[in-house]
C-alpha cells in the first residue's frame, strides 16, 4: 500500500494531508459507471459479479485523487442471502416481495452461516486488493437499518410497519436484530480476512428512533458487532455512521469504534469537543453542496477543514452518499480545495 493516510487518520495518527474519500464514490454520477452498469441485467446481478464490482471500485480512483477504496456492494445482500426475495426496481429502489411482519416470518429466514452465499463479495475484495495503492474499506448495514428494509419491504418515509411492530411486539424486532448482528459480524470478519483494511457500519435509519429506542434497537446490536470484531481483529479500524445520530455521538464513541462518520447536520467542531480524542471523525459535507457554484464548494470544503482544526484523526467525506446527478468536475473542485488547504497548512508550519 503506497498511500496509508486513511488508516493513519483512523488511528488518530498525524498525516501529511487530510485523507479524503466519498460515500458512494463508485456509482451512478460517473458516466463510466453508467456504461459498466449496462453489462449486468440489474443492480443485484451487477453486485454478484466480482469482475464488474472490481472495475467499479477502480473507476473513481482513476479519475480522482482519493485516499481509500470502498467495497462495491449493497447493504441488502445480507437479507438476500438470508433467503428474502430482493429486486432493485428502476425508480423505486430496493423491494422485498415478502417483508417480515410476524415471528413466523422470522423463522423462515436462513439462520446457518451466510458466508458461503456471499463468496462473490469476498472474491471482489480479494481480487481488487492487489490492484490498490490505497487502503480498502469494507462495509455492512447496521442490524437496525437492515431490519427496517426487511420489515418495511422497501424504502420508507414514515416507517409505519417497523414502528408498529416495535411498539407492539418489540421482542420480535429484537430477535431479528440479534440474528442480524451475528450474521453481520461474521460478514465483516470475512471481509477483513478477504483484504479489507477497515470496515464501516452504515446505520441509515437509526436517526428515526427516540433516544431510548436508538440505544436499545440500533446502538446495542452495533456495539455487539464492534466488540465481537475487536476480539477477532483487534487492529482493524471500525467506523460507525448513524445518519441523524448527531445527538448520540458520545454513546457511539463508547462502543469501542475507532471513528464516527457525521451527517451534515451535526456541527463538526462541537462534535470534536464532545467525543474528545477517543475516536476519529469523518464526513460532514452536505453532498448537495456539490451542486453549488465552484466558490460555494470551495468555501464549504474549507469551512469543514477549519471546523475540525489542528487535531489528528480527521477524514474528509460527505455527510451521505454522493447524489447520482452530481457533476464529476465538482468533485474535483472539492478535492483540489482540500489538498490545497492542507498544502498551505504544511507550508505555513
Amino acid at each position: 500500500m503506497v498511500n496509508n493516510r486513511f488508516l493513519q487518520a483512523l488511528r488518530r495518527q498525524p498525516v501529511d494531508s487530510t485523507p479524503l474519500w466519498m460515500m458512494r464514490q463508485a456509482g451512478r454520477y460517473l458516466p463510466e459507471y453508467r456504461e459498466l452498469r449496462q453489462k449486468a441485467r440489474d443492480f443485484l446481478d451487477f453486485c454478484h459479479q466480482p469482475a464488474l464490482c472490481v472495475e467499479a471500485m477502480l473507476q473513481p480512483l482513476r479519475r480522482f485523487d482519493l485516499d481509500a477504496a470502498i467495497l462495491f456492494s449493497d447493504i441488502l445482500v445480507i437479507p438476500h442471502a438470508m433467503g428474502m426475495n430482493l429486486a432493485f426496481k428502476e425508480g423505486e429502489g430496493p423491494v422485498f416481495s415478502s417483508p417480515i411482519r410476524t415471528a413466523d416470518d422470522l423463522k423462515a429466514l436462513k439462520t446457518d452461516t451466510l458466508t458461503p452465499h456471499l463468496s462473490y463479495v469476498f472474491e471482489t475484495l480479494d481480487r481488487v486488493k492487489p490492484l490498490l495503492q490505497v487502503p480498502l474499506l469494507g462495509f455492512a448495514g447496521s442490524p437496525w437499518t437492515l431490519a427496517t428494509y426487511m420489515i418495511e419491504g422497501r424504502s420508507s418515509k414514515l416507517f409505519r410497519s417497523i414502528k408498529t411492530l416495535l411498539y407492539q411486539k418489540p421482542q420480535v424486532v429484537e430477535e431479528l436484530l440479534a440474528l442480524l448482528s451475528t450474521h453481520l459480524m461474521d460478514y465483516l470478519s470475512h471481509q477483513i480476512q478477504a483484504g479489507a483494511d477497515a470496515v464501516m457500519i452504515f446505520d441509515s435509519w437509526g436517526g428515526i428512533l427516540t433516544t431510548p429506542d436508538y440505544h436499545r434497537f440500533s446502538l446495542k446490536p452495533m456495539q455487539r458487532m464492534v466488540q465481537g470484531l475487536k476480539k477477532r481483529h483487534p487492529h482493524t479500524p471500525i467506523i460507525l455512521f448513524t445518519k441523524g445520530g448527531g445527538q448520540w455521538l458520545e454513546a457511539m464513541a463508547n462502543t469501542g469504534a475507532d471513528a464516527l462518520s457525521l451527517d451534515w447536520i451535526t456541527d463538526l467542531a462541537q462534535a470534536r469537543q464532545r467525543v474528545g480524542h477517543r475516536v476519529a471523525l469523518q464526513g460532514n459535507l452536505d453532498p448537495l453542496i456539490l451542486y453549488g457554484s465552484p466558490d460555494t464548494i470551495r468555501s464549504h470544503s474549507r469551512r469543514i477543514l477549519e471546523a475540525y482544526g489542528e487535531e489528528t484523526g480527521h477524514i474528509f467525506n460527505l455527510g451521505h452518499g454522493i447524489d447520482p446527478h452530481t457533476p464529476p468536475e465538482n468533485v474535483t473542485i472539492m478535492i483540489d480545495t482540500v489538498r490545497e488547504y492542507c498544502r498551505n497548512k504544511r507550508m505555513a508550519a
Binding site: T115, P116, F122, E123, D126, K129, P130, Q193, G195
Partner: protein, 383 residues
C-alpha cells in the same frame, strides 16, 4: 573423446542406474549431467526431515565428488542438457558445448504440477520437488508459524505430519473428500485424517483453493466457498508429472511419460528412460521401489545384457508417523471389493478381485506390521 554411457539426471534413478551399471562394467566411460547440485540424496527423506531433526545440508548421503570417485564417473553439476541429437549421438548443453554418447539414459524425473490459482502470490507458493527447493522452503519457514498445504496426497500428508511434529500450525486444503483418496479406501484415509488432526492439522477437505494473494506478513488463500486462510507460508503438494520436455524435443514416443519397453528402451535406439519420467509397460510409477527395480535391469542392459522388467509386489509406504500407512494399490481399472477390519487407526483393508483373489491391500497403524505376511501370501497365490 570416446563416447560412453551418459545419464541425464542425478536423482535416485540416475545414481541407481549408474551404480548398477558399474557393478557390471567398470571400464566404459560414464558421465552424469545434473541441472542442480549433484549430491546423492533420496527425495522421500525430504518430507520427514524435520521429525528426524535433519537440516537440508545433512540430507545428502554423498557429495558429488564422492560419487565421482565411487562410480568412476565424470559428473557435471549445474549443467543442463538442452537438446538431444539422436542422429549424431550428441547432447547439446546450456554451456553451448555438445557432448557425445554411445548410450543415453534419461533419468530426468518429474516436475511439480503448478496449482491452478489466481492472485499475485503464485510465485511465492513453495513446491518441494528437490533438495534445493527444500532448502529454500526450510529457510523460509524458520521464522514462521503457520503453513497451508495444498493437496492431501502422499506428499501433502507426509509434510503435514512432519511440519506439525516440528511445532508448525498446519492446515491442508484439498478437493478430495478424505486424505490419500487416490491410494487408499476411505476408512484408512479417515484414520489418517483423525490422527493428523490429533497432532494439530486442520483439514479443509472438499475445498478448492482459487487464489493466493500477498498481504502484510501473510498470504490470503481464498477457497471456492468464499472462506479464507491466512497462513504465512503456502506449500503446494498437488502432484508431480513426468518431465518429458527433452524427450519430446528429441522426437521420442511419449504418452503420459517417456514410453519404454521391458528393456527400458525408448522409441529411439541407444536411448533409455527410467524413474519418474518413464512410462514402463504402460505405467508411470512415481515411487522408489519401481525405479530401483528398473535401475538393476537397465544397469545390466547398458553393459550389454538383455534383462527385462518384472516388477515384484511393491507396496507404497506413507511416512505419517501419527498413523503410518502401507498400501499395495490394486491394478487400475478392475472392479474390486475392499474388506476392512480393525478399529480406529489400526485398520486392515484387503482388496479382492471379482473372482475373489487378493489383489491389493492397505494397512494403517499397527496393522502395517502385517505387510510382509500379506506380500508372502499374495506371492504364493500368484506363484
Amino acid at each position: 573423446m570416446k563416447a560412453g554411457v551418459v545419464i541425464v539426471g542425478s536423482g535416485l534413478s540416475g545414481y541407481s542406474v549408474a551404480k548398477a551399471f558399474r557393478e557390471a562394467d567398470t571400464t566404459t566411460p560414464l558421465t552424469i549431467f545434473s541441472s542442480q547440485e549433484a549430491h546423492y540424496y533420496s527425495k522421500p527423506l525430504l518430507s520427514t526431515a524435520l521429525t528426524q531433526k535433519r537440516t537440508p545440508e545433512a540430507l545428502p548421503m554423498a557429495s558429488t565428488a564422492d560419487m565421482e570417485a565411487k562410480l568412476f564417473a565424470k559428473i557435471y553439476a549445474k549443467t543442463t542438457v538442452t537438446a538431444i541429437d539422436s542422429v549424431n549421438h550428441t547432447l547439446q548443453l546450456d554451456t553451448g558445448e555438445s557432448y557425445p554418447y554411445a548410450q543415453l539414459v534419461l533419468a530426468v524425473g518429474a516436475n511439480a504440477i503448478q496449482p491452478k490459482l489466481q492472485g499475485n502470490a503464485l510465485g511465492n507458493v513453495h513446491s518441494v520437488n528437490n533438495l534445493e527447493a527444500y532448502a529454500h522452503f526450510r529457510d523460509t519457514i524458520e521464522t514462521k508459524k503457520t503453513i497451508t498445504i495444498l493437496g492431501s496426497g502422499l506428499v501433502g500428508c507426509e509434510f503435514a505430519n512432519d511440519l506439525s511434529n516440528a511445532g508448525y500450525k498446519v492446515s491442508v486444503i484439498s478437493p478430495e473428500g478424505y486424505p490419500l483418496a487416490a491410494l487408499v479406501p476411505e476408512p484408512i484415509g479417515r484414520a489418517v485424517q483423525a490422527a493428523l488432526q490429533g497432532v494439530g492439522v486442520q483439514w479443509h477437505l472438499n475445498r478448492l483453493a482459487v487464489s493466493v494473494n500477498a498481504a502484510e506478513g501473510h498470504y490470503r488463500v481464498r477457497l471456492a466457498d468464499g472462506s479464507f486462510l491466512t497462513p504465512e507460508v503456502v506449500l503446494s503438494a498437488v502432484g508431480i508429472r513426468p518431465n518429458i520436455t527433452l524427450a519430446k524435443q528429441a522426437g521420442l514416443a511419449i504418452n503420459q511419460g517417456i514410453v519404454v519397453n521391458e528393456y527400458l528402451e525408448t522409441s529411439q535406439p541407444h536411448i533409455y528412460a527410467i524413474g519418474d519420467c518413464a512410462e514402463v509397460l504402460g505405467q508411470v510409477y512415481l515411487y522408489v521401489a519401481p525405479l530401483l527395480h528398473c535401475a538393476n535391469v537397465l544397469g545390466k542392459n547398458l553393459a550389454g545384457g538383455r534383462a527385462t522388467v518384472h516388477y515384484p509386489l511393491m507396496p507404497i509406504v506413507i511416512k505419517t508417523p501419527a498413523c503410518p500407512v502401507v498400501v499395495l494399490p490394486p491394478p487400475k481399472g478392475l472392479s474390486v471389493e475392499w474388506k476392512i477390519e480393525g478399529d480406529n487407526t489400526h485398520l486392515k483393508a484387503l482388496c479382492y478381485s471379482k473372482e475373489g483373489r487378493l489383489i491389493g491391500f492397505a494397512l494403517s497403524g499397527q496393522k502395517t506390521q502385517e505387510k510382509m505376511q500379506l506380500i508372502k501370501k499374495m506371492t504364493e497365490c500368484v506363484g
